[in-house]
């Protein structure tokens, strides 16, 4: 929904559900603005007269006609000591749709208004409780998927990005120098413009590469895939569940189940992984079976790490050997399953890491976990400092302006005009490292994030 900037400038009382989708165990309705305390006085019953000094109070929330709507915990924050810097109350009620909408109804009756996306943060910002950069980082915080991402967010504050962008800047300054030379020293260096081609191409590439990191981060495409494969009944699903039990990531999304595979998020060594359970390698010659194998190949191609689950009471099958031959170059390990069953064959001596476990019985899983972690650590993590969204979008724009510049050069646009465009690019880069261009940051933050709700 587009944001009404005019509404942002009003200072009425706003409210919003601060917690996730209903129904749920507990919901928090946050109210900020001049009439927040008046609402509490009118609708809260419990422990005598309510005053804002009671930071936390337990009692009933009643309708305007005095009926109890719910038992609630009421938190109050006196301005300026609140998130928004205004008077704020938080109504912690049961997460029922009926309860929450009844409470919201009373708020509307008081002339309160449902907050727009990001409006709480905006007020916090207006009241000096949040800086523009805080806001943007806050926005990205919600998007961060694992602790490694958090580390990269943290690194954003470091000089690393500045160093990288300064390198691009240097290149662009060089470019500017070439273009200006062509103008200011035309009688000596009329043809120097040709030398502008290389720095143009290089800086365009660099800008695009740094910006691309943010895209990857945002799409979560950097979650590497940990793919389980093996023949049916080798115990893939048991292992899948066992790993999930231990390492399951906290997610809000529902697991993506496809016809061919099940995916779940797990967190290992500070990194978010997609754990993928493939349909399995059926032995046979039929078309269906061949297709299943082809699909397994696709999953393995896309995997960052794969685990071959072998039924330890049976040993390698033909198709398992085939997989090892095909994908042995990719980081992987072999799980020799069903350790607890009679007839369990000793794991073979191979160059590959082979771990004997009982996925169902829970034997050797600790060891497997350790080995997985060690192997994963060796994979390293996503590299490069993560730019913020604004920085990334400026860099993307710079990259595309730079490639326009290249075609301008080809069309014979005079150097003073090329120089003009390049200067504009430089200015926008300055604002990337300069931590400003605040208006722009804000517009983006409030348009795209639903902060503080």
């Amino acid at each position: 929904m587009p944001i009404d900037r005019k509404l942002l400038e009003t200072h009425d009382t706003i409210f919003a559900l601060a917690t996730g989708a209903l129904p749920c165990a507990v919901a928090i309705v946050r109210v900020s603005g001049p009439s927040a305390f008046e609402i509490a006085r009118k609708h809260f019953r419990g422990g005598g007269n309510w005053e804002p000094q009671r930071a936390m109070a337990y009692g009933s929330y009643v309708s305007s006609t005095g009926e109890e709507l719910d038992r609630i915990l009421l938190l109050s924050f006196v301005a300026p000591h609140s998130f928004t810097g205004e008077h704020v109350i938080e109504i912690q009620c049961h997460g029922s749709i009926a309860v929450v909408s009844a409470i919201e109804q009373t708020l509307v009756e008081h002339g309160c208004r449902a907050a727009q996306a990001g409006e709480f943060s905006y007020r916090a910002f207006q009241n000096g409780k949040l800086g523009a950069t805080d806001l943007e980082n806050l926005g990205d915080l919600f998007k961060a998927r694992d602790t490694a991402d958090l580390g990269r967010l943290q690194a954003r504050k470091d000089a690393a990005l500045q160093v990288e962008i300064h390198a691009v800047r240097e290149e662009l300054i060089r470019l500017q120098a070439i273009l200006d030379t062509a103008v200011d020293f035309s009688d000596e260096y009329g043809n120097v413009v040709e030398a502008a081609r290389l720095p143009m191409a290089q800086s365009a590439e660099r800008c695009a590469a740094i910006a691309a990191r943010y895209e990857l981060f945002r799409q979560g495409a950097q979650s590497p895939r940990l793919v389980l494969t093996g023949c049916p009944n080798a115990g893939k699903s048991s292992l899948f569940n066992a790993l999930l039990c231990r390492y399951r990531a906290i997610v809000h999304e529902t697991a993506g189940t496809t016809r061919d595979a099940i995916e779940e998020d797990l967190e290992l060594e500070g990194r978010r992984w997609k754990l993928v359970d493939t349909a399995g390698l059926r032995e046979g010659e039929s078309l269906m079976e061949r297709q299943g194998i082809e699909q397994s190949y696709d999953f393995l191609s896309a995997a960052s790490f794969w685990v071959l689950v072998v039924d330890g009471t049976r040993g390698f099958t033909e198709s398992e050997r085939d997989l090892l031959a095909r994908f042995g170059g990719k980081p992987h390990l072999i799980v020799w399953n069903k350790k607890d069953l009679p007839g369990f064959l000793p794991p073979p001596e191979l160059d590959d890491t082979v771990v004997a476990v009982s996925a169902l019985g829970g034997l050797g899983l600790e060891e497997l976990g350790q080995i997985l972690k060690t192997r994963i650590r060796q994979l390293g993590s996503a590299t490069g400092v993560l730019p913020s969204q604004t920085q990334a979008s400026r860099l993307r724009v710079s990259a595309s302006l730079l490639s326009d510049l290249q075609s301008d050069l080809d069309r014979g646009v005079p150097p003073e005009v090329l120089g003009e465009k390049n200067r504009a690019i430089l200015r926008s880069l300055d604002s990337v490292v300069g931590d400003v261009g605040v208006e722009e940051v804000l517009d983006r933050v409030f348009a795209e994030f639903c902060i503080g709700k």
Binding site: N127, G128, G131, S186, G412, V417, G434, V436, V438, E439
Partner: protein, 651 residues
């Protein structure tokens, strides 16, 4: 100026008259110290603005002397001359009257940064300036040395001069110092050095001390000049001939004529023999022996600098320029040097065409004192002493054009100060002069400052062709533009406005003839009727091409300059509009006041260094903040945002 033509009293007479007058009247509204390119413009503008003005010089016969190259203009510099001319200055008129070769630079099709340059007859140039100065009402020229500038209660009170061993005190309200390279100057030619600001002339010893006492920081710079060669001893057939433009295009927007005969220059190149001769004797160069302490300009290096810094280059272009029509002196542009005389002879003789060359004078370097221009306000008035202005090389610049433009500006402000009026300010968004003022007062100089187009952010808007449109209204308001010139200006402006309207509204319908013309230009046929301006926006279509497609003659009569303005404005409309928006944003931004209660330490997004600086200096507005070195547009935005945030919170 009509008044400058009224009298043509000879210089010496005038000077004599003035010494007599000095005896009785020792009071002037404004005193200009120095008769170089800055001093001339400063004194003329003061006198023309109605003030009793004295021009003090060591030698009145050297007024308007071209100490170095015999040319005016060039890329970036031509723009300054045009602006100066638009503001009622003298340089453009005199350049037209004494030019012996005119050339436009950067004339590639559709270029918006064209610049003018001319070769001048340097003798005629100086004589012409002397006659203009001598004929100027209210302007007296005094031949003397300045000993001291006296102040009272932080304001200029008088100037102490010495002439023929006699000291005198001249009372004044304002002083403009335009002493050029003459403050504590040292000339170097190899191991030989001597006092003096120009060949055969004295140095002014007391003045820089006086300026230092008045609170200026003084620094040392260096410049240089090549040897002068005798024309008859040069074999020009071994060089490329370089003719000027035909027809020549004038500098001035006003009623001037190019009347002197036009002559060629010659192009030749240095070679490895030349470079070898220089390299062998580097130890004898005062630049490399450490004898010279001052910092020279990187953009105008001596030949020994070029050889040392660009060893991979096997040749450098050298332009041989005539100094005057009735002189046999040649100025070899490109071999400025302070090597000893014998080395100069050795390497010059290795230049093609110079085997038998005779020297008229050896090249030399000059070290001189200049002030740190960060001690000046944006009207070029000292921050320490009211009524004290400086302009030209004294402010750390180089070049006649830079000097003259500053002279005019400082002169105008000295005159306004003497009248008790508010200063005249120029922003970098409206003129190269504004850029120059801004750069000098913000950043100071580390080498002699020269104008380049790249210093001007808005160079697509700050063009030579529209300098009058940008600045002449100011000149009129200041009283620096005669009625006749102003009428001329208004008529031109009207022609441009009308033409623009016609181009924007008139439609060109496709016909086979038009398509044939377009095809001959390599342009696509008209598929549908189009506005004239749309057709002119095509890169391959010029204004004259467009006019050839019209069924009837274009209803406005256009001279070459006006046609050029029109063509550029239409072709670059998009960019110019973009710059206009930027300028507008900048203007709004700097107009914001900074509340006195604002705590800079709490402004997010500022470096610690800037927070410190701003806390200390406490600028009252964003404009003031922008004047502080190191305060970037980004930092300004951060401060602006902080202000808005606070306002939002208290609202």
């Amino acid at each position: 100026m009509s008044e400058s033509k009224k009298s043509s009293i000879e210089f010496s007479q005038n000077s004599a008259l003035e010494s007599e007058r000095l005896f009785h009247v020792k009071q002037y509204d404004v005193i200009i110290i120095g008769g170089g390119h800055a001093g001339i413009e400063a004194s003329l503008s003061c006198a023309r603005m109605g003030l009793q003005t004295a021009l003090l010089t060591l030698d009145p016969s050297k007024i308007g002397e071209m100490s170095c190259n015999p040319s005016i203009g060039g890329v970036g510099k031509g723009q300054l001359v045009k602006e100066l001319d638009a503001l009622g200055g003298e340089m453009g008129r005199t350049a037209d009257a004494t030019g012996i070769q005119f050339k436009r630079l950067n004339t590639r099709k559709g270029s918006a940064v064209q610049s003018s340059r001319c070769q001048s007859d340097k003798k005629q140039y100086a004589l012409k300036m002397q006659s203009v100065v001598g004929g100027q009402e209210r302007l007296s020229v005094l031949s003397c040395e300045v000993k001291e500038i006296r102040t009272k209660a932080g304001a200029v009170e008088s100037v102490v001069i010495e002439s023929g061993g006699v000291r005198e005190t001249l009372e004044t309200r304002a002083v403009v110092v335009t002493a050029g390279t003459f403050m504590r100057s040292l000339m170097h030619c190899g191991e030989v050095k001597g006092e003096g600001g120009r060949f055969g002339e004295k140095s002014s010893v007391g003045l820089s001390d006086s300026l230092r006492d008045l609170g200026f920081a003084v620094q040392r710079l260096k410049t240089g000049t090549p040897p002068r060669l005798i024309a008859e001893s040069i074999d020009f057939s071994k060089m490329e001939i370089q003719e000027g433009d035909v027809p020549p295009r004038r500098f001035s927007f006003w009623d001037t004529r190019i009347e002197l005969p036009q002559v060629p220059c010659y192009l030749t190149y240095s070679n490895t023999r030349v470079h070898g001769a220089i390299r062998e004797n580097l130890s004898r160069s005062p630049l490399y022996s450490g004898q010279i302490q001052g910092i020279g300009p990187r953009y105008c290096p001596s030949i020994e600098d070029k050889v040392v810094k660009f060893p991979q280059k096997e040749r450098h272009p050298l332009f041989f320029e005539p100094e005057a029509l009735d002189s046999n002196w040649i100025y070899p542009n490109g071999i400025s040097t302070s090597l000893p005389a014998d080395v100069q002879e050795a390497f010059v003789r290795a230049i093609p065409g110079c085997a038998e060359v005779k020297f008229a004078r050896y090249g030399y370097a000059v070290e001189y004192d200049c002030i740190d221009p960060r001690g000046l306000s944006k009207s070029f008035e000292s921050l320490q002493v009211r009524g004290l202005f400086t302009a030209g090389q004294v402010n750390g610049t180089s070049g006649y054009e830079e000097a003259a433009a500053q002279g005019l500006f400082a002169g105008i402000n000295a005159a306004l100060f003497a009248k008790g009026e508010a200063p005249f300010l120029l922003s970098r968004a409206e003129s190269y002069l504004g850029v120059l003022i801004d750069d000098l007062t913000h950043h100071g100089v580390t080498e002699p400052y020269r104008m380049f187009t790249s210093r001007a952010e808005f160079r697509l808007s700050l063009r030579e062709d529209n300098a009058d449109l940008r600045l002449s209204p100011y000149a009129r308001a200041l009283g620096l533009l005669s009625d006749a010139d102003f009428e001329r200006f208004q008529a031109r402006q009207e022609r441009i406005d009308r033409s623009k309207q016609i181009l924007a509204k008139k439609i060109l319908k496709p016909t086979p003839q038009i398509d044939a013309i377009l095809a001959s230009l390599g342009s696509n046929p008209l598929s549908q009727p189009q506005f004239l301006a749309q057709v002119l926006k095509r890169p391959e279509v010029g204004l004259s091409d467009l006019f050839s497609m019209l069924p009837d003659p274009f209803p406005v009569e256009l001279d070459a300059d006006t046609a050029e303005t029109l063509e550029i404005e239409v072709k670059y409309e998009g960019y110019i509009e973009l710059q206009r928006e930027q300028i507008e944003r900048l203007r709004k931004l700097v107009g914001t006041r900074i509340p006195e209660t604002l705590d800079f330490r709490k402004v997010a997004g500022l470096s610690f260094e800037l927070r410190d600086k701003l806390t200390k200096l406490r600028p009252g507005s964003l404009a003031d903040a922008s004047a502080i070195p190191g305060v970037t547009p980004a930092a300004l935005t951060a401060v602006l945002f902080h202000i808005r945030q606070k306002e939002g919170a208290s609202a």
